[in-house]
């Protein structure tokens, strides 16, 4: 029997994960769990897309949330103001994020290191200022309120919580699978080359700027997808989605979950969410608690959760195509 190709294995894992997620509400029909998963879908997409840049590409973006915010706003606005169907709104959000990422990325990826980071931050905050100022369109600092219409499409009614749950899970699992396949493709390895030694990659014929731009746009699109899920969850869009705190949270998620393993950011997102939800129940000083935990991870462990597990596993002598390393 032929061994399964990697992408087939990854797809099977995705299907399995999706089935588990879909079965979960049947086992535990609590509203809290459903909400948790939906939020995790949004943040998982944001964090994993950021890690394509940070972990795989060596490009530390401080402003990634701008695409999360754009995705949410464009999606919500198309439904609210243009009264289009959900698929069209979704497509618009994706296209808008792609275009925005292409334009901003073309400028940013020319720079390296901390200057890249600062420029992405500046663009993100610029976008945030635009959102706050353009009150007529975006509702200003109140955000888009009034809910978003959810016209039924293809028999799916997103106003119903089960449909909404399934939709968000499919988006998240689909998005993560797509990102996984991208990172395991030839492009993904060219990206790793750029991360490890950009100079050498150029001396091997790689067009560094172009590959970086592709990565930036792809990351922006998937972050936008996360924004769409978030928009559905809150029934609108808020300026905070494009604020530095959202980018910062995404960075913590990937650091805490591990940047060297594909699902690290997702794990980090889950852990951070659990932490936030639990701590806020016991104390109003959740910043203090989170700060201490972050110090523990950064000064104590100095690596994310999945990175620790990766080190503990003995490396096996498998053929390159089957290796799980990043």
């Amino acid at each position: 029997m032929n061994p399964l190709r990697d992408w087939q294995k990854d797809s099977l894992w995705a299907v399995l994960a999706l089935l588990l997620l879909l079965a979960l509400p049947l086992a535990s029909p609590s509203r809290v769990v459903i909400d948790f998963i939906i939020r995790l879908c949004a943040m998982g997409l944001l964090a994993t897309s950021l890690n394509m840049l940070v972990g795989y590409g060596g490009m530390v973006s401080f402003g990634h949330a701008m695409f999360f915010g754009s995705g949410a706003y464009v999606f919500a606005l198309m439904l609210q103001k243009a009264s289009v169907s959900v698929p069209v709104a979704l497509l618009s959000a994706v296209v808008a994020c792609a275009v925005l990422a292409a334009v901003i990325g073309a400028i940013c990826v020319r720079l390296k290191g901390i200057y890249f980071s600062f420029l992405t931050l500046a663009f993100q905050m610029l976008l945030h200022s635009i959102i706050i100022t353009w009150t007529s369109m975006t509702g200003g600092d109140q955000g888009l309120t009034g809910g978003i219409p959810r016209p039924v499409f293809w028999g799916i009614d997103l106003a119903q919580s089960q449909h909404m749950y399934v939709f968000c899970c499919v988006m998240a699992v689909g998005g993560l699978l797509a990102m996984r396949l991208l990172m395991q493709s030839p492009f993904g390895y060219t990206l790793r080359m750029l991360r490890d030694n950009e100079d050498r990659a150029a001396y091997l014929g790689v067009n560094v700027w172009r590959v970086r731009l592709y990565a930036f746009v792809l990351a922006g699109v998937f972050a936008g997808l996360g924004g769409v899920v978030m928009s559905l969850f809150v029934s609108g869009a808020f300026p905070d989605f494009s604020y530095w705190t959202m980018s910062g949270e995404a960075v913590f998620m990937i650091m805490m979950g591990g940047i060297h393993v594909f699902i690290g950011p997702l794990v980090g997102a889950g852990l951070l969410q659990i932490f936030n939800d639990t701590v806020t129940r016991f104390t109003p000083y959740h910043g203090l608690a989170l700060g201490v935990v972050i110090l523990l991870f950064t000064l104590g462990f100095q690596r994310g959760v999945t990175d620790i597990f990766r080190v503990l596993r003995r490396p096996s002598h498998e053929a390159p195509s089957a290796k799980e390393t990043s």
Binding site: V54, V60, I107, L111, I114, Y115, S117, F118, L119, L121, A122, F123, M125, L126, H128, S129, I130, I132, T133, T135, G140, W244, G248, V251, F252, M255, Y285, G287, L288, L290, G291, V292, I294, L295, F297, T298, L299, Q302
Partner: protein, 300 residues
């Protein structure tokens, strides 16, 4: 956009004077904070993301010191020295551990401190907005220069900041300590090889940077209200200033701070909602056209 209002102001001497004085003190305070940030980056090579929290701490320390001593001068001094001491401890026990690490790790350590300090301030001083109020010594009618209103306190602030700037310039260029610091910024390995204690230099520069930020917080206390989380906007603004001026350049920080001060001041007339946007736009423009900043060396 209120372009007509802006143009009117630019045509009126009194308005120019009023707005310029506002711009100058915003710039003066920003300079103090940004100078610390840029020095720390120049000498240690790290970006102190917790710098805004130093400013915040300075404001609150000054508040308490003022309530206790009733002296504004002592309050500002306490703010500077107290935060300087805190910065020493922060550098010694936390930042020092991550000098060799990824910038992400450094960012996270600083962010952890921002979170912790914000809550500590909340616990000790409360979450509501507080204000020192104008000290009695400055409660006098404002000056009228060219028809424009200039509070006496502003003049004082400008003088204080100007004096500190001069002292800074003098120390860095004319004293032996200053030369050592600049040497360490250019070539840490060599400086260490020459037998100079780079660890001590780093600790001194870091705590001095903290001192400046804390001092700024204390000096600003009479005219700014304070709340936990106030550090953030100052941090962002001082970043913008440092980037515009050139990371590591104190003169750049001065230019950048004055520029941002004026943009804020005049910008709030012409683009009241978009003032922040203007500042970020400036940052974008500098990073696109001259990433090393106004006073920075051009990159190859």
């Amino acid at each position: 956009m209120e372009l007509t209002a802006l143009l009117e102001c630019l045509g009126s001497v009194s308005c120019i004077v009023t707005q310029s004085s506002t711009g100058l003190i915003i710039g003066a305070l920003l300079f103090l904070v940004a100078a610390g940030l840029t020095l720390i980056f120049g000498v240690l090579g790290v970006i102190n993301f917790a710098h805004g929290s130093f400013y915040m701490l300075g404001a609150y320390v000054a508040l308490t010191a003022y309530r206790v001593t009733d002296s504004y001068a002592l309050a500002a001094l306490a703010a500077g020295l107290g935060v300087g001491a805190f910065a020493w401890v922060f550098e010694r026990f936390f930042m020092r551990r991550v000098y060799q690490s990824d910038v992400l790790l450094q960012l996270l350590v600083c962010y952890a401190f921002i979170l912790i300090l914000d809550d500590v301030v909340k616990i000790v001083w409360g979450a509501e907005f507080q204000s020192m109020g104008m000290p009695k010594s400055f409660q006098m009618p404002p000056l009228f220069i060219g028809g424009g209103v200039v509070p006496v306190f502003y003049v004082y602030l400008m003088l204080a900041a100007g004096l500190i700037a001069l002292l800074l310039w003098f120390t860095l260029t004319r004293t032996r300590m200053g030369k050592i610091i600049r040497a360490a910024a250019q070539n840490p390995a060599m400086t260490s090889a020459l037998g100079l204690n780079t660890r001590l230099i780093y600790a001194l520069v870091f705590s001095f940077g903290g001192l400046l930020a804390g001092l700024a917080g204390g000096l600003a206390a009479p005219v700014r209200s304070m709340s936990p989380g106030m550090g953030f906007s100052i941090l962002i603004e001082s970043f913008i200033v440092t980037v515009i001026g050139g990371m590591g350049s104190v003169s750049g920080a001065l230019l950048g701070a004055l520029l941002i001060g004026m943009i804020r001041s005049f910008g709030s007339i012409g683009f009241p909602l978009f003032v922040e946007g203007l500042m970020f736009l400036s940052m974008v423009l500098i990073l696109v056209f001259k990433p090393s900043g106004i006073m920075g060396k051009a990159q190859s």
